[in-house]
């Protein structure tokens, strides 16, 4: 039995320690906002925050999470930057199919947490690991800038 801190709550799970955090969230904790896309950290749709850093949850064994706090797309809206980013995403009508957007929002929020006023190269570096098959990149970039502008 492992105890995880997810979105501010303590959650017990009975899973093998080598199971990727992604599948623990999706299949065992009913937190399906974090998506499966490639399983090899190439697409970014599984991005969550662990200890405040963006990680690809398909590559992180749940046994290695330890006591670090996990934040998922379901909980990131409770953080100031997460709420701003989600708002900017809605105002900018970013999603098309929407499947990658949870991961995009997690990466964008982590960017604003570390770099409140990112320039284009900061955005490039932070978002290069998140694929969007629909090609919403122009609106993603704009939404990040709009969210940053709203930071206090």
């Amino acid at each position: 039995m492992l105890t995880l801190t997810i979105n501010g709550q303590s959650r017990d799970v009975d899973v093998p320690e080598d199971m990727p955090l992604l599948w623990v969230l999706r299949d065992h904790l009913n937190l399906v906002g974090t998506k499966y896309g490639c399983g090899i950290a190439q697409c970014g749709v599984c991005t969550v925050h662990v200890g405040g850093k963006p990680v690809r949850s398909c590559q992180l064994a749940v046994g290695d999470v330890g006591t670090r706090a996990v934040v998922t797309i379901e909980g990131v809206g409770d953080t100031p930057n997460g709420a701003r980013v989600q708002q900017a995403w809605m105002e900018g009508s970013v999603p098309q199919c929407g499947y990658c957007q949870a991961g995009q929002i997690m990466s964008a929020t982590a960017l604003l947490d570390s770099t409140p006023y990112p320039d284009d190269s900061d955005i490039d570096a932070a978002m290069a690991g998140n694929l969007c098959r629909c090609g919403t990149y122009i609106r993603i970039r704009r939404a990040i800038k709009n969210a940053a502008t709203k930071s206090v």
Binding site: Y36, C38, S93, Q96, G98, L131
Partner: protein, 761 residues
Amino acid sequence: MADIQSNSARSDAYLSALMREVRSIPAAEASLTVGRRAFFKLAGAGAAGLVLGFHLGDTAFAAEAVGGKDQPMNAFIRIAPDNTITIYSKCPEIGQGIKTSFGVIIAEELDADWNHVVMEQADINPKVYGSQGAGGSTSIPRAWDQLRQAGAGAKAMLIAAAAYQWKVDPSQITAKDSVLTHAASNRSATYGSLAVAAAKMPVPDLKSLKLKTRAEYRLIGKRYHGVDDPKVVRGQPLFGIDVQLPGMVYASYTKCPAAGGKVRSFNVDEIKAQRGVLDAFALDGTGVLAEVMPGVAIIAKDTWSAFQAKDKLKVDWDLSQASKDSTSQFSAEAKNLAANFPAKPDMNVGDVDKSFADAAKTVDAYYEYPFAAHAPLEPMNTTAHWHDGVMELWVPTQQPDRGLPLVAKVAGVPQSKIVMHQTRVGGGFGRRLVNDYTCEATAIAQKVNAPVKLQWTREDDFGHDFYRPAGYHQFKGAIDKDGRLDAWQEHFITFTADGKKEATGANLTDNLKYSIKAPNLRRAKTMFPLRIPTGAWRAPGDNAQVFAAQSFMHELSLASGRDHVEFLIDAVNRDVPALAPKDRSVNFSPKRVTDVIKMCAEKAGWGRKLSNGSGLGLAWCYSHAGHVAQAVELSVDADKRIKVERIVVVLDVGPIIDMAGSEAQAQGASTDALSTAMGLKVNIENGRIQEQNYNAYPILRLPFAPMTIDAYFIQSENPPTGMGEPAFPALAAALGNAIFAATGERVRRLPLRDLGYSLAV
């Protein structure tokens, strides 16, 4: 099981049929479908009858409807006492924004208050809704009249109820923002207060409904947020992969890496002993690529256990009927064959040989593009529950209505025993026009005493796609002494699954046949037999053939010595009756082409002097009923790094329903096209797909995306047509033409990374 050749043929016939279906745009006076009549009849039958319009399992809705809390007006509209209006979207949301656009169309005619409209996904019932597919950019044109009539019909019933209560003439009642008003007596009432009475009113004759003119629109044409965006950004369950049911188990399915291979045996005892595994078994399947091919199912407690066990799977494949296709061989053979123009042309207009003999100039060129995978980000999945003689499914599909009979066939039950719930779809691009994964889940569910979610891995997804076929074009063109396009000869080397006609997506498109209007024109094809399944890939055929045709057109305009834009406009306006569409429902219009080219040239600053190493390219297409021109401005450095400065796309798809959504499609399709032209290619060797994941399939990433893509719409007085595809095909040609303008090097082969090009940040 029949041999693989006929399997492919059956699969191909299926796909060809559905592609014809999705391509056929209704004429402006689209006739009524059975479904449309059906729902109005049901509406007249009262609340209890209306429940029939919905699927068997929706007891909550049935209770509400019977209890009269929310009043269904017809199968699309439900009105609550608090004036909340629920509108059902009948087609799959695959990222094209249809759930928003369909709502706007209905709300417009209903004169609903958009701020109090809730959009819901309709379940799958073609008898009620008619076509429920999303493909070929046809959702809007096919539903346009049906949805407007649904809105106008419900509004007429509300007005009739108010007129009866107020004892006034219905024509004196006006509707706005979900409120009816009789100005003369200063009376008004909300739709919510009238809904119960309205549902008892006679259903209006559809012909009597007066639909709005464009000048009367309040909602159509404005900018909208996606109706599901709040759920998307908060990670709430929407997609097929998100389905969770009590007691659900998880499945993986492993097919032969070479299409057509059969299971002889597998390490069943070892697999069943793996952690978390509940069962494992082989399926013979139906042997049809679009249904269930042979494979091994692993049932487990969770997805990870199913995937882990799949990695341990050792299958002894019978490869006697398996594909041995090789793309490197196809490519080499095509080049050798190209110069041998077949004796029997498919099309022969005028006198091509005489034109070549009399020409001021002739140009020869050979173009090639590769196979491509769809690779939508949500891997294929379906949740299926076989219970009480019913197969209940939750499916992220583009063609649920087409899936119904296949599921019934696989399950061996009548279609009335299939309950299909449409989920949001994490990317379509044509992949999910095929319901193979749904058929697999059906077959697996019948062997599992629980709801089961079949989840493909990304490697399954790459390895078992219905690929965009490669193609090879040998062109010869002639310019006459006046600098006009005089002849076009094209030898198209393509693929066949059945040995008779082109494989799905491998035919030269009708769109291109209308578009290239040389007075002397000759086309022929050579087909390689192919066992790897092909399919519809965003803007099927056009997505690559337009690259070849519009790049060669640029070569011809350069040979003519005339301005490219002037040359294109002259060519498309030639009167060549033999090339005009025979089908009167085809809306191809040289004038609309001319208008988009002119506007694109103007917006892109055509004719400007650019600095050394920079170039502006322009191309156009007629695709999926849209008329489109695209321009790319770029610079290329000494290391062949391309900096895209700007993309301009001008479309005429008639009136725009949702301006924000249409811009998103124009930008997204242009970005997708840039991504595909730059990097996407699938190699097949010995029947096996070489690319297994995104690390080998470089979809464009954010740092390389253009900073601006300017979309402009000519909202001509024509019925609206779809936006999912038209902004794709011309981009690659505009890109190649711009590279030529910048460097003098002609791009005749895709992807560009094979020629040493890359995108600069």
